[in-house]
């Protein structure tokens, strides 16, 4: 199937448009720009200062899906970055070295500010050090304590709010020349919460059998607007409403998952997936699942930019700064291992999944540390089998299709075997 034949829904087209518009805004030269990260970003706050949001991770993903990240990574390695460094970082560094061209073909402007609201990944610190070196622009850092106890504490929240008041907001005021207006923030947060309701509704539809959506491969599209430059906007509200209608339509028609190559056949396996996807062979990877009839009913990756379902977090206009703090503290990468185990095990039970599949990312320590322990724990708690595949984020050299396929096939057959041994009704030979 050629690239044009990819089946795109209305919401996908809308999202594409939104992303394109944001890139046009960033590269227009007419607005101030901040570079920041996906997990725990302060989009609503930036909007209060009319600052556009540029996300290096998303740029790396965009370049990977356009098959451009390979050269960029090599470029970064030529300039001295080790093979083991997170490949998002190298794709970003390589992109800068190659002229810093945005996906719309226009050069990225130098950012006016680097906003580092660091949540759970130490790589971010080093990454922004490199960017600061390059751009020599103001850098503001919001220190988000690691949720070692699994739950944000009052202390943590106060600490973040204090930094917001004393550091982040004053800096952004200075850079933008706009006075902070807390009511404006409240308004944005109200909009965020509205879209977030629909997001959670969407995530939970995969409890149905067959699931009308895939919450990993499909999920990365669904989570796009809420985790990037659109949280707090009307556009995001519209997007999630449209998505909701689409999914409702599938439910009404009793349809299962739609894939880029068309409708998936019978739903044979329901999985929970941990870890980011591989972006360079995204379609190929997805195909291995849908050809086997495997649907991902929940994934941790759709929560890297914020966890909304697990403890029912919503942005709260009545406690604007506190809710920003809770949001930063609660993203998936900032959670400790027992919480991640609990989250995944609960997903497996509530979504009636057949097991946990881990896609372990070579260069991402934040996700990978402890993943095997996590798998064992989840297996113990749920009695469902786990499996492990290994790929990379955006480095095309680290996707061995034969190897991945081999393991996936073995895993699916392992599930079959377990089902048969368990005496559960199944027609699979």
């Amino acid at each position: 199937m050629s690239q044009q034949d990819v089946i795109k829904s209305r919401s996908m087209l809308l999202q594409k448009e939104m992303i394109a518009r944001n890139y046009d805004k960033i590269t227009s030269g007419e607005v101030k720009v901040s570079s920041t990260f996906v997990p725990g970003n302060l989009n609503e706050l930036l909007m209060c200062f009319d600052i556009a949001n540029n996300l290096p991770e998303i740029n790396a993903i965009q370049n990977a899906m356009r098959k451009k990240s390979g050269e960029m990574i090599m470029e970064a390695e030529r300039s001295g970055h080790s093979e083991d460094v997170c490949t998002y970082v190298k794709a970003d560094i390589g992109m800068m070295a190659k002229g810093n061209i945005a996906p719309n073909g226009k050069p990225f402007p130098d950012p006016d500010v680097l906003l580092l609201s660091y949540t759970g990944c130490f790589t971010f610190l080093k990454w922004f050090e490199l960017l600061r070196e390059q751009y020599k622009c103001p850098t503001v850092m919001l220190q988000v304590p690691y949720s070692a106890d699994g739950q944000p504490t009052k202390n943590h929240r106060d600490y973040i709010v204090k930094q917001l008041k004393e550091e982040v907001i004053p800096t952004l005021e200075k850079i933008s020349g706009i006075k902070f207006d807390i009511d404006r923030l409240r308004e944005y947060l109200r909009k965020s919460a509205k879209a977030e309701d629909d997001l959670v509704w969407m995530l939970e539809q995969s409890k149905r059998k067959p699931s009308p959506i895939d919450c990993y491969f499909g999920g990365v599209y669904y989570m796009g607007p809420i985790f990037t430059a659109f949280r707090g906007t009307d556009e995001a509200i519209t997007y999630y409403q449209m998505l909701r209608e689409e999914i409702q339509e599938r439910i009404d028609k009793g349809l299962g998952v739609q894939t880029p190559e068309g409708e998936m056949g019978e739903e044979k396996y329901r999985l929970v997936v941990e870890g980011p996807p591989n972006w360079t062979s995204f379609r190929e990877f997805w195909k291995m699942f849908h050809e086997a009839g495997a649907v991902v009913v929940a994934s941790s990756y759709t929560k890297v930019g914020g966890v909304y379902d697990y403890d029912n977090f919503r942005h709260d206009p009545d406690h604007p700064l506190e809710s920003l703090a809770d949001y930063c503290l609660g993203v998936y990468t900032n959670r400790n291992l027992p919480t991640r185990v609990d989250m995944l095990a609960r997903n497996i039970k509530e979504y009636e999944a057949d097991g946990l599949l881990i896609n372990s990312i070579k260069s991402c320590n934040s996700f990978s540390a402890g993943q095997l322990v996590l798998m064992r724990e989840v297996e113990k708690l749920t009695g469902k089998p786990g499996a492990f595949v290994e790929t990379d984020l955006v480095d095309p050299r680290y996707f061995s299709a034969a190897n991945v396929k081999n393991r996936l096939e073995s895993y699916f057959q392992m599930i079959d075997q377990k089902r048969r041994a368990g005496g559960s009704a199944t027609t699979l030979a």
């Binding site: 064992r376 290994e390 190897n403 081999n406 073995s410 041994a421």
Partner: protein
Amino acid sequence: MRTFIGIDLGSTTTKAVLMDENQAVLGRGITNSRSNYDVAAAVCKQEAKIGARFTLFKNALGSGGGAEILLEDLERNFRLEQFLSELNQLEQTCENYLDHPRFKDMKSALREALGAVFRQIETEAPAIYAPEADRKSDFFRDIAGSRFMDIAERIGRESGISFESLLNIYDKSIIDVESLVHSDEVVSRQLMNGLSRALKELEGVEVSEADAQAALKKVIDLELEETYVVGTGYGRVRLPFPKEHIRSEILCHGLGAHMMFPGTRTVLDIGGQDTKGIQVDENGIVVNFQMNDRCAAGCGRYLGYIADEMKIGLHELGPIAMKATKTTRINSTCTVFAGAELRDRLALGENRADILAGLHRAIMLRAMSILSRSGGVTDQFTFTGGVAKNESAVNELRKLIRENYGELTINISDESIYTGALGGAAFAYRAV
């Protein structure tokens, strides 16, 4: 009779196991995988059927009265028959190549030379298959090939024909011959001929000629119905098998190891391209597995690389390493780094055997890490795959298991190369 067949299409060899309705293994077959998995599958299936006929014949003869001797002789003579008929095909194929325009001018000289080469191989054949004769390989390609080279070189020299031309014709022909799969009729004839040869030679066998022939005839006439065939191994995706007939190697190795040693809980399989650590439950069902990722460090291929590096045969590695007086510490399991380390150590004057022992240990350390990632090693532990034949590797593995997990039962079988195919056959049996 209903039979169930498992075929394991490995990167270097393809194996088949044929099982009867009671899940008893009747026959095993092995062949080199070539570039064509279809042919490899057909050949090793045929070989497994031949193995089954031998088993059935053996059962018919019973024991005593020199039946064992008769069987052994039959097998040898059957192999000789098989060799001769393949040789004959090879000769005919070579002849056909002579019609190629480029050989036009020297066609008759070439024909004469080829004839002389083949007559000589034919004459030598009985000795190749004589009792106690030592064959480096059981594959036709290897035996015929090495004889052809030797003899053609001499004859070429004597008759002034270029060795290259002869070699060229051989190279083209052997591929064709390898793609031929013998029909059941041909095999039956070879079996009967083999028996006549055997009966001629035999002394001390009480079975009468007529009885033996009748018994073999009966076995040959028995139809071995392929009730269900399951394919596994890396080549499985290229087989003309419907999807339901394919099982992953991980599951097949797990189940196969369980069939051989029902107490097995952990399986280590080191193949050419990958190393797998597999955990199975009391029914042989896989509960967990881990594999090496992205690189072949610590796999069979690593040993091949080391052998090439040292300019010795793969099978010499183990025996040399067994002579070590100490184990040199090799830090790298990366194939390329290990090569560098090896050269470095040699240059420092270290003993070859000690270095090799260190390399074997390095591989096994890597395997231990995969095993521990798969959930550790539990009693009983079964080691399968080609490397299980390497004494030094096994030695190092035993040591490491003891150091890390204490005294456990470690199972290693002579038939371990068939583990995957055995699991496949068991799946075939269960599928019906």
